[in-house]
Subunit: 344 residues, 4 copies
């Protein structure tokens, strides 16, 4: 069994998580190189990774490396994809791929030109609960789909500094929810109305961002959607999804570390939801990398493409416009798709 040789670019929180997953849970993969500003050699050595460099060029130039995992600050993603594709590497890239269609287009062009694979890190598409929900929608168990709801709330607000470089909450955080609507429905977002505010932390407002939002969306197939976001719950990572149709309603509820229920004088307690995305989507993060390696090895199509990344970014940008101009915004690429005779 030869393994697929991989390089990881970026070793922040999520880069390290992907690296650990590759090493411990993707038997078909071999991480030869990690490239990052920190170049933490001790950490790499502990994981049995031979090469640790600050020089991504070294990584791109290594003919052994067949594929790269990119987990840089979002603003650097598109350029890194372009370089990787130019070097003939398959690419797994974290979201968002970029902050505008203009920024993303050259990366997607480079991928197409090089004939490599590009998979985007919309990890929820590999979550067993969401997969079951998606299957229920597509098999007709839900009947004709009428509405979708996403509750996405982070445990703790990011720093204003992070917010500044993140592209804003819609691009950094809600982008998962836009992809989820597309994934669950198999349809496109045609119109968005977004209301947002900085209710958690006024510093977030000073950084030009928000931390709380309610977003309405209408899909090409007429389905009405709502997204409910907060950057800070205090009680863990709140992730709930709901698909309602003519035959019923399916909900994906929160996961909890254990099933312990304590009945005490003060009430009945259960565990809080998983503390962060790391625990909540543990299986999904492994599954997305396994599937990426499987596709690279088999030459088959990846499950989450650059086009998916682009569609989610466009939705995020439309949401931003909607919020700033306080009006519903039609998505450019789908303007003609607005259903005839729809009542707003």
């Amino acid at each position: 069994m030869t393994r697929t040789t991989i390089g990881v670019i970026g070793t922040g929180r999520i880069g390290r998580m992907h690296t650990l997953n590759l090493v411990s849970s993707v038997p078909d993969a071999f991480v030869k190189t990690v490239a990052s500003r920190s170049a933490d050699e001790a950490w790499a050595a502990e994981l049995g990774i031979p090469v640790c460099t600050k020089n991504t060029g070294e990584l791109f130039g290594d003919p052994d490396i067949e594929a790269v995992v990119i987990a840089l600050p979002s603003g650097l993603h598109a350029e890194a994809i372009r370089s990787a594709a130019a070097a003939g590497k398959h690419v797994f890239c974290e979201k968002p791929v970029g902050f505008s269609s203009a920024a993303i287009a050259p990366a997607l062009d480079a991928v197409r030109a090089a004939g490599v694979q590009l998979q985007v890190g919309f990890n929820r598409r590999f979550d067993p609960g969401l997969c079951k929900l998606q299957a229920a929608v597509h098999s007709g168990e839900v009947g004709e789909l009428h509405s979708l709801r996403v509750v996405n709330r982070d445990p703790r607000a990011p720093s204003p500094e992070f917010a500044r470089g993140s592209g804003g909450m819609f691009l950094d955080f809600t982008i998962h929810d836009f992809d989820t609507l597309r994934f669950l429905s198999g349809s496109e977002i045609v119109e968005i109305y977004a209301a947002g505010a900085a209710l958690v932390d006024p510093e977030i407002a000073s950084a030009g961002d928000i931390d709380t939002a309610v977003i309405s969306a209408r899909l090409a197939n007429g389905v009405l959607c709502v997204i409910d976001n907060s950057r800070q719950t205090g009680y863990g990572y709140d992730q709930r999804f709901e698909a309602f149709g003519s035959k019923g309603n399916l909900v994906v509820g929160n996961l909890r570390p254990t099933s312990v229920e304590a009945s005490l004088a003060t009430g009945v307690f259960t565990d809080a939801p998983c503390p962060s995305f790391v625990e909540r989507y543990k299986e999904a993060f492994v599954a997305e990398l396994r599937d990426f390696v499987r596709c690279v090895r088999a030459g088959s199509d990846v499950a989450v493409t650059g086009e998916d990344a682009l569609a989610a970014v466009e939705a995020a940008l439309a949401a931003k416009t909607s919020m700033v101009e306080n009006r519903p915004v039609l998505l450019a690429s789908t303007e003609s798709a607005v259903p005839e005779g729809a009542v707003s």
Copy 2:
């Protein structure tokens, strides 16, 4: 113990429910008269109600009768309130009180002029779960309130005929949700964006109405809200409420007839939610009448006033405008209340 003598006007589904509740569960009340087009004497006799008439004038003219319960088709409510007040009767009236501010104003004027009480049938305000949620918001258990969510879905769509005379879904059905936002937050609705469609039944569209909606609302205190409506679930009466704030999230979940859980080869089953509002708000329907009678007897202020009715109607009308014109709509009475510096 003298009981308070009451007359009931209208004996449709909800009129009969109120009558039965008065007879069997409000010991301080005595139903002397029911007035309705059907004048079902056998039913009245069975409940021990002495007078059954088609003539509401007879009821208004009876000096024994201190208070009336009005449960007519919504379009007749305001006029009935006016007549009752003119006759010096205290009034409990079902929602909506009317289809416009102009229609409601004379009724409220008559109530004020006569110095009688007017309580409106926003039954949820007497539900133990919603009361607990409201108390948690007001006591600070939720922290600073950031968002509210209401899921309100009826078990079975009304007939297109009913839809035609109902004032439309927002006035007939969502009106409870607008009142719930006000009740839970203690704040006013300042802006609404509504998207709706007839996804359950195309005949509803032909009747000029909708059966599915997602509504965003912003409150005077900056709280972001979302309402999720459907006229037909197929699985019962879906009633869920959520208050999210800086200290956590409180949810009122669905009630079920029993707590039986069955683990079978095909999965784990529990009872579906209560089949209709009658079972779901059983305690609340009794409690609102008990409280009305208590206030009438004590001369104290009722918990749900004509002004509450008016505010909910105005929100429903704003939602309708928003949907038709596909734009966010500021509520006239609160226009000046839009928070300074709010984003969208």
Copy 3:
């Protein structure tokens, strides 16, 4: 509509509860008289009860009174039944009817001789959840029944004084569980093994009683059962029931005052179970009286008979013998019913 005239004997906690239920929720009943040592006239007047006496003879001698509700200390039940039957009154009596078969037999004889009805207060037989469970067992939804489990735990231990006069925990408390096994299974208890201890309160042991027990029982149809008792939870009234069979497992879970779920930094909380039997079996307490009055009026058989009371008392006594002698005990009346070839 003439109502059935009723006298209540005993106005302790449960006697007052039954009286209130009759007055407010059994429209077919009229409580004319309450007889008790306290003779609380103010309370009776408030409920509109004309006669309040210390003299039960006055009640038995009143020809208007058709039926009596007996809620005395348990040791006085059998004699009161005898007197009531002798006076030609139908009887609803709280459990236990007596502390031995010998004590109960004359009461049942008197009932038979007088041709009156006797219903015993095994309220659980009227609980919607337990009725659903029983129906599932009898309809075959559970398949062939293999085992039953009862968790019965009181919120707060009784005083040692109460324990002394109560007949002991098995007769006073577990007796409901023995009846529940018979009700759910439709079979008889043939053998019991009981282990008990005073773990909550050593004073209970001084009073010759226990407060904690685990009891195994075998039924005539081969079903294996377990009862889990405690006199004190600290977290409310813990009532859970489970029927396991070849097709699956059905559980009746605890009921809670509201469905509110709070997600806070310290965990996810729900309401504790109902605080006491009053709230937990609210519907059942009303339903058993309604059914009793219905049977009295219709002359039809009551749902819980003197024979049911006797069977539960015999089980309680067998459990006591088992615990004291530390051995499994066969029930006298069912000795011949032990299934052939059973392993222990």
Copy 4:
């Protein structure tokens, strides 16, 4: 990083599971050899295991191998432990270690003589939920412990052939529950009363075994326990645990593959419990091997010892005697430990 070299003996269902876990999830371990009657070379090669043999002697003779994992039919465990210890290998062995104290003693002697480690496969001790429950008991969150309950029900009954060689249900299956009582309480079982029957499959009775049981146990610290067993649920692997004490009640509930809840016209469905021990204790099976390898490498004491294995076997044998002789049985080793003055 040098890894610990391991040999696996026995490649039935559970042997293969352990092997896969070692290869994919215990980075510190290297499986050099698998020894089994089947000697499935293709399977071994696929997992990257160099040596596949029918000859356990070859494995014991290999100086590279530091530790072995034994997953043979239960009757062969003790002898294999003895051989492994004699060869100086550390041992991880599946339960039960043997069918009698006499059979087990020589193995434990050999382990002691060789100075190697022996860890027994009571996997539940590594389950996050049970660990949380145990911690709550030991930290005093439950208060003074009064009772313990274990529900342990297998999804599908074993074949009568398997039953014949398994030592009987108590030794093969309930043995986990006896260990769980000891683990949760930190106390010893002093008395057992067991009632059992073959209700699932009469062929099990022909094989001299049972498939359904209710077992009472009393611990040295006075705690009352109950175990509820079935060999076949039809709805998955039912694993529930409950610790009740003076401060409250803690329950470990079933785990489910996803958190999806479907509200349909026929009721509200959730996933059935995990289908088998493989999925339910997935994390625990990995954790016990990781901990074993950690202890071997560090020379520290293992968490589940040969003495724990022996205690559980003695409880299982006492349960068998109790069932056959239909009487409570004191455990020999603890006879003197029966608390003074205990009521049965």
